[in-house]
């Protein structure tokens, strides 16, 4: 590093060293008391500050939202990401469909049992009708039939019997 100039002012290296924290004994005191050296130090500080301000301004303008991903996540964060509205709607439709299918199956079982019962009832009624039809006289009139004896009145009628 170049030492103090012949006229007693700080060299550029000493100015830079002051800013870098390498200030030697007396340099800072000199810069504080000397207008010329103080101005040089201020100019360098201002240049550095302008870099800082413009860099920060630049970063603010170019700012992007944080985007990063963890390798492993908590269960809640997984489900909060997995359960999107679309997926919830789809799941609701699936659940409703399954419930509808189950209700339809129950209805079909019930309807089948009713049909079977009706079939049995119909068969019993038909059997009863057949029995009534097969009688010579209706069941209510059978006592009267025993009171009457039938004899043929003519040879042709006898032949028919």
């Amino acid at each position: 590093m170049k030492r103090r100039q012949a006229d007693g002012h700080l060299t550029p290296d000493e100015i830079a060293a002051l800013m870098a924290g390498l200030d030697e004994q007396g340099s800072r005191e000199h810069a504080q008391g000397c207008g010329r050296c103080g101005a040089e130090l201020s100019a360098l500080q201002a240049a550095v500050l302008s870099v800082r301000d413009s860099g920060r301004d630049w970063a603010e303008r170019a700012a992007v939202s944080p985007r990063w991903s963890r390798v492993s996540e908590s269960p809640w964060s997984f489900w909060s990401r997995a359960l999107t509205p679309q997926r919830l709607v789809l799941a609701s439709v699936l659940v409703a469909g399954l419930a509808g299918m189950e209700a339809w199956r129950e209805y079909r079982i019930h309807a089948d049992s009713e049909a079977a019962a009706a079939e049995v009832s119909d068969a019993a009624l038909l059997a009863q009708v057949d029995l009534q039809i097969s009688r010579a006289v209706p069941a209510e009139m059978e006592p009267l039939a025993t009171l009457v004896s039938w004899s043929p009145s003519s040879p042709a009628e006898a032949a028919r019997q």
């Binding site: 100015i15 100019a43 201002a46 550095v48 860099g55 630049w58 944080p66």
Partner: protein
């Protein structure tokens, strides 16, 4: 909890794990800004910031609180930026863009109405020259310079983030300031806003 952590304070590992999102929200701007001014590439800076927090999350078990969260994250960022800078592709784009486009863009940022048109032009030229000088600095000098003067980090924090001794940090800073100082006119201000 990390959400309430102030820069420079320690965070227990359990707090990291419980609310890492708050850490991301708090330190993302700082990491992104440092990556942006170092790489001068928005997309690359975003990638570095993403990688930085992903690596921090993966390595959270190894965080012992020896340094602040901020310093630890900056240490990761410094390594990622160094890797990025070494890639041949980025080197190519840096050569193509740094000297003209990015420096001009940076210079345009100093137009906030607090300076007269004449001094504003002078300040923009000055600023462009300083940015150009910064871009030409060797990697470690540039890193130390930006950490010190853009991120306002203390010398010991910079030493921890870069893995250098405090003395070496001062030396890099001195060399960087020597280069930057050559762009600053003697005997007068820069016309900057302060």
């Amino acid at each position: 909890m990390p959400a309430m952590v102030q820069p420079g304070t320690m965070v227990a590992e359990s707090d990291w794990a419980s609310d890492f999102d708050a850490v991301v929200r708090q330190y993302w701007p700082k990491v992104f800004r440092f990556a942006l001014v170092s790489l001068r590439d928005r997309s690359a800076a975003e990638t570095v910031a993403q990688d930085c927090f992903t690596r921090a999350w993966q390595a959270r078990q190894r965080f012992r609180g020896d340094s602040s969260v901020s310093t630890w994250l900056m240490q990761i960022a410094v390594n990622l930026i160094r890797d990025q800078s070494r890639s041949r592709k980025l080197q190519f784009w840096k050569m193509l863009g740094t000297s003209r486009l990015d420096v001009a863009a940076a210079a345009d940022l100093l137009t906030d109405g607090r300076t007269s048109p004449e001094s504003s032009t002078s300040a923009r030229e000055q600023l462009a020259a300083v940015w150009a000088a910064t871009a030409k600095l060797p990697e470690q000098q540039k890193t130390v310079f930006l950490l010190r003067f853009v991120e306002d980090m203390e010398l010991l924090e910079i030493a921890a983030a870069t893995g250098l001794s405090e003395g070496t940090v001062k030396t890099h800073l001195f060399r960087a300031l020597q280069s930057v100082r050559k762009t600053v006119g003697t005997g007068g201000g820069t016309g900057a806003k302060r």
